[in-house]
């Protein structure tokens, strides 16, 4: 039996322990798995190689990692990065929001009506296969260079994925579930809200997750190719003024944000649908 006064947390126990090496001996000795070791050493080798080549490079095209990180921290602290990303993410939020609502709605219509499904399918197939970026000049002609054009590019990037997944989710609901709901007297709207939607939700959310990531790619495309604003403008500015550490730092911010978003959404989805 342990004494009832002993703190429960490992860290706390280590801190209050009288032993001088308590902080470290309090943890169980865990052997790092081969996986962790390989991953960390791979990152370390990459960082050292970048730093070395950066220092050796006489043309200054590849700044050493340390100066990139320095620029990154400076830009984070003085608000340059956050300001630029805020402008970009505005377009992302509107574009993705609209495509989420429209995509789920169209997916639902397609699942309920074979006519809508057959009419929409050839267009969705073409849009899924088409490189969205080729439409950008057309959006400039149609909507100019403002927020509308950016939002419509982002919309197009995300819309088809959301639609196809929510259609598949709703169509794939187990017929037995629906029969059961019917036999309990559910019809129409209540059948949909109580049975169909919960059963279809994992795939719908998976579609939204993919759509959010695609919308992020569309956001960068719009802010770089369509019109230089936000983070796209920031990268282009540092590129044109040959401030390469800052340029790499801005690119790093985009990459980190994209990865963070993908990981976070995947994590949330796993948490939310552990039952599925």
């Amino acid at each position: 039996m342990t004494a009832p006064t002993e703190p429960r947390g490992r860290l706390l126990r280590a801190l209050v322990s009288p032993s001088p090496v308590g902080l470290f001996s309090g943890f169980p000795r865990r052997r790092w798995s081969q996986k962790t070791v390989l991953r960390l050493s791979s990152l370390l080798v990459f960082a050292v190689a970048w730093e070395t080549f950066g220092r050796l490079d006489a043309t200054l095209l590849l700044p050493p990692l340390s100066s990139v990180l320095e620029a990154f921290v400076a830009m984070l602290l003085d608000g340059t990065l956050i300001g630029a990303l805020a402008v970009s993410l505005q377009g992302w939020a509107v574009g993705f929001g609209v495509s989420a609502v429209a995509g789920v709605w169209l997916g639902l219509l397609m699942a309920r009506s074979p006519l809508v499904e057959r009419v929409a399918n050839p267009y969705l197939d073409a849009l899924l296969a088409a490189p969205t970026i080729a439409f950008i000049p057309l959006f400039v002609v149609w909507f100019g260079l403002g927020l509308t054009a950016r939002v419509s590019v982002i919309f197009c990037y995300a819309f088809t994925l959301v639609t196809v997944n929510s259609f598949a989710g709703i169509r794939g609901v187990d017929a037995g579930l629906i029969d059961m709901g019917r036999s309990f007297g559910l019809t129409g709207g209540r059948l949909f809200w109580k049975i169909v939607l919960p059963a279809a939700l994992p795939l719908i959310v998976a579609g939204l997750r993919l759509g959010a990531a695609r919308a992020f790619v569309g956001m960068v495309a719009a802010d770089t190719v369509l019109v230089l604003v936000g983070i796209g403008a920031l990268i282009a500015f540092y590129n044109a003024t040959f401030r390469f550490p800052e340029m790499y730092a801005a690119i790093l911010a985009v990459v980190l944000l994209a990865v963070a978003m993908v990981e976070l959404l995947a994590y949330l989805q796993r948490r939310a649908f552990r039952w599925a």
Partner: protein, 262 residues
């Protein structure tokens, strides 16, 4: 009401025709809107077809396409070779997977367009630079799908192969590769679309040649019939190519169909 029902019975449209009919109705609607409302913004299909014929006859579109396709072939071809090699190594050797995984998944999630300035700094705007852009747009999708196909094999297949006395090379060629092939081909379909995107981006944003230059030229001069003609060409090529890869993927996955519910 009665008339509608009667009409429905007489004109029985096979459900398979709904798709083509939907496209036809869409085209007619577009023609109508283009002719009577806004020919500048919605160039009607008839004008687009005319513009397309003009672009082909003047040699402008074929020339631009050959410039674009050269870079596409180089970039995508290299991406296939490198992507298959890296994907197979990652799928077969766990250590290699742990070392490379973080870069592959990062660059898979990262918007490649943000990296364009770095590629241009390193490789320039000519064919090598454009091929590298196309390569980077496509290669990670191929790696991920090859790796998944290689490592997602059922243990029973491997046990069976061993009990029949197959050696490592035979297991790779006769068990693992056929198992991975449908996934690899599906990945290549997505990779090809991404490669075409990379091609257009490189030309539209950086180099101003080929198809991308035509898009920019006709967009900025508001020649919408020509603009539509170029976009439709890109879309049709992409749809045909992805349909072809889809069919290939289905053909090579036929043997799996019977055992899906084991």
């Amino acid at each position: 009401m009665g008339v509608i029902v009667a009409a429905r019975r007489n004109v029985s449209v096979s459900p398979r025709l709904y798709g083509p009919i939907a496209v036809l109705v869409g085209l007619l609607l577009w023609e109508f809107v283009g002719r009577f409302f806004d020919p500048l913004l919605f160039a009607p299909p008839s004008a687009v077809v005319q513009a397309w014929v003009g672009l082909v006859e003047s040699g402008e579109l074929p020339r631009a396409a050959s410039v674009s396709l050269l870079a596409l072939a180089m970039g995508f071809g290299t991406a296939i070779v490198v992507g298959l090699a890296i994907g197979m190594v990652m799928g077969l050797y766990q250590p290699a997977k742990h070392v490379l995984d973080i870069y592959v998944s990062t660059l898979m999630a990262a918007p490649m367009i943000a990296l364009l300035p770095i590629i241009v700094l390193g490789f320039g705007l000519e064919v090598p630079g454009r091929a590298v852009i196309i390569f980077l747009f496509a290669v990670f999708t191929i790696i991920v799908n090859t790796e998944a196909g290689m490592s997602s094999i059922k243990a029973q297949y491997l046990e069976m192969a061993r009990s029949f006395g197959l050696d490592r090379k035979q297991i790779l060629l006769e068990i693992r590769l056929p198992n991975a092939l449908p996934g690899i081909l599906a990945g290549m379909r997505v990779a090809l679309i991404r490669a075409i995107s990379g091609m257009v981006v490189a030309e539209l944003f950086l180099a101003l040649t080929g198809i991308g230059y035509l898009l920019r030229l006709y967009g900025e001069s508001f020649k919408t019939p020509e603009l539509f003609a170029v976009i439709v060409t890109v879309v049709i090529v992409a749809v045909l190519a992805s349909g072809l890869l889809n069919r290939l993927a289905r053909r090579f996955s036929q043997w799996q169909r019977g055992m899906r519910w084991e």
